[in-house]
Symmetry: C2
Subunit: 333 residues, 2 copies
């Protein structure tokens, strides 16, 4: 299986590392090998078989900040993709929640070219899921995106495979580890601004934290779940979103007096699409502290099924990409 890697930041490099790490495992367990035939980052690209081998490209990135010898000079990724013979596009470039950006163009191009796609780039899915799913179907392609919701928390596979046959009535979850970290720290009495600063110092929050704290990241995941699990043709614009910036220490203290904590909960069902701070009883599955992601899936036959895992991280997110790649390999057998 030959993959083209769009984006060579933390996750993209993680994919490369994992493919190296799992070379023998894939050979032994699936009699398969996955090779990278192209990598592109914001300023450079690499489609040279020799320098894509082994650790070379990782060393090049570390040393020069570039993934390869070729300058992009404004060349679109789609053009570079076409210079290679790939089977699967792995889309890990920075997300654009306004219009999908280059990631959307790349996914469209790959699907239109009959290639399978694995993406952790949320923007294109949160904006154009129905059209992309249709494009994939028309071209006989597989579109996978486990890592786009909850990182290593395998919510998509859980709902589609493990819970096959059940009607999923709702999913409620902690879908943004940054907000959950901030709210967990506010449980100890910190004001929002101080908890946010701490999250930034620890690398959990970006310098510009808007995307997380305004609930936009969680909302994009809600939109993806609505499409993928509930078969609803919606975009992030259909999600009712309230972030956590208005939560005061007084509100947190009042909640605590009643045995509750405040958590940012994303909820999807047949008639709900919402991200909002909610009161959650202490001891409840969603009353977790720290950066984990958790989702509670309410089913018709088995009641609630809960799953949790790390919502972000280099190898965590790359592990979801790996499981998607293996799933595609199995389907293409």
């Amino acid at each position: 299986m030959k993959v083209f890697l769009s984006g060579f930041g933390t996750v993209g490099q993680g994919v490369f590392e994992i493919l190296l790490l799992k070379e023998k495992y894939l050979k032994d367990n699936y009699d398969a090998s996955i090779s990278v035939v192209g990598v592109v980052d914001s300023s450079s690209f690499n489609i040279d078989k020799k320098s894509l081998c082994g650790f070379c490209v990782l060393a090049t990135k570390t040393n020069s900040g570039k993934c390869g010898p070729n300058a992009r000079d404004g060349k679109p990724v789609t053009e570079i993709m076409d210079m290679t013979d790939y089977d699967v596009l792995i889309e890990t470039s920075p997300t654009d929640i306004e219009n999908g950006g280059e990631g959307l163009a790349n996914i469209r191009h790959a699907l239109a070219s009959g290639k399978d796609v694995v993406t952790v780039n949320k923007g294109p899915l949160a904006l154009e899921y129905p059209a992309l799913a249709k494009l994939a179907e028309e071209n006989g392609c597989i579109l996978k995106y486990e890592g786009s919701v909850g990182g290593a928390m395998p919510i998509i596979s859980l709902c589609h495979t493990a819970l096959a046959g059940q009607r999923i009535k709702s999913i409620r979850g902690i879908l943004n580890g940054t907000c959950n970290y901030i709210l967990s720290r506010m449980d100890t009495g910190l004001p929002f601004s101080q908890a946010l600063r701490e999250a930034q110092q620890l690398g959990y929050a970006e310098a510009d934290p808007t995307y997380d704290i305004e609930g936009i990241d969680a909302a994009s995941k809600v939109a993806i779940l609505a499409n993928s699990i509930f078969d609803r043709a919606v975009t992030i614009r259909d999600v009712s979103v309230t972030g956590i910036t208005a939560i005061t220490p007084e509100a947190v203290a009042m909640a605590a007096e009643r045995g509750m904590v405040i958590r940012l909960i994303g909820e999807v069902s047949d008639d709900r699409l919402e991200v909002a701070p909610r009161l959650v009883p202490k001891g409840h599955a969603l009353a977790i502290s720290g950066t984990l992601n958790t989702a509670q899936v309410l089913t018709d036959l088995a009641g609630p099924i809960t799953v949790s895992g790390r919502g972000a991280g280099k190898h965590e997110t790359a592990s979801a990409i790996l499981s998607d790649l293996i799933s595609i390999m199995e389907s293409r057998k």
Copy 2:
């Protein structure tokens, strides 16, 4: 798909109900139908197409305690299976953890006849997993058993599918809801005997609770996980087992003073096979209260992934059987 149902207790009847409930769903989503061509319970059997239809067999069971018009008169299930034309054996008869009992004979017979098998009967797997897996492979059959570990908690599918590509370093879990209920109640100061009595009154514990409280049930699940996930050829006899009968209110109180609770934890890894009461910090994913089952899967790439769900119940366990049946249908396409 034609299924033969061995065992018509709570779970067996749950399967029947769910197949009725999901008839349209299976048609709409998988263009498939699943029909029961034979049912057998301890004293009777039914292989009559007409009286197996719809709710007839459920009504017959409710009214007469029998699943059909034919007395077994000591006839082995395998003989009755051979009187029908089935694709999949669903084995839900009472478990025999000493020698596997009739369930083991039924599974062997089905596999040897080239039929797929879905079992929630733990005994045969806990005693003979390696031989059964080999038999299935030799005959080109699929052997599924999601409901045998943790009921509706989809731990098998999670490890095999959702976490594909990851090395699973260990699984630690609360695998017996009865024990967890008793220990949760002991957290409030109740002595063991009183908590047990309460569990019996609520229907969580059997009249003879040995199988649960001595850790045997949890140990059989540990043995199944060891075979299925860790590729270890072991039986329940290889599991080091300590039950919960010796836990005193004093021990629970001492644990609480240190911010801990006592829980019966099953643990599997490459070099561990154990069921024992353990101290778990409050707030930890395994420090849950009540009858839920929970498992924490430690992976090489993504760290811990936790899943929980109802460990028992009519439709809960039957839902796991349904997902196995759908998985077989998809594989046989």
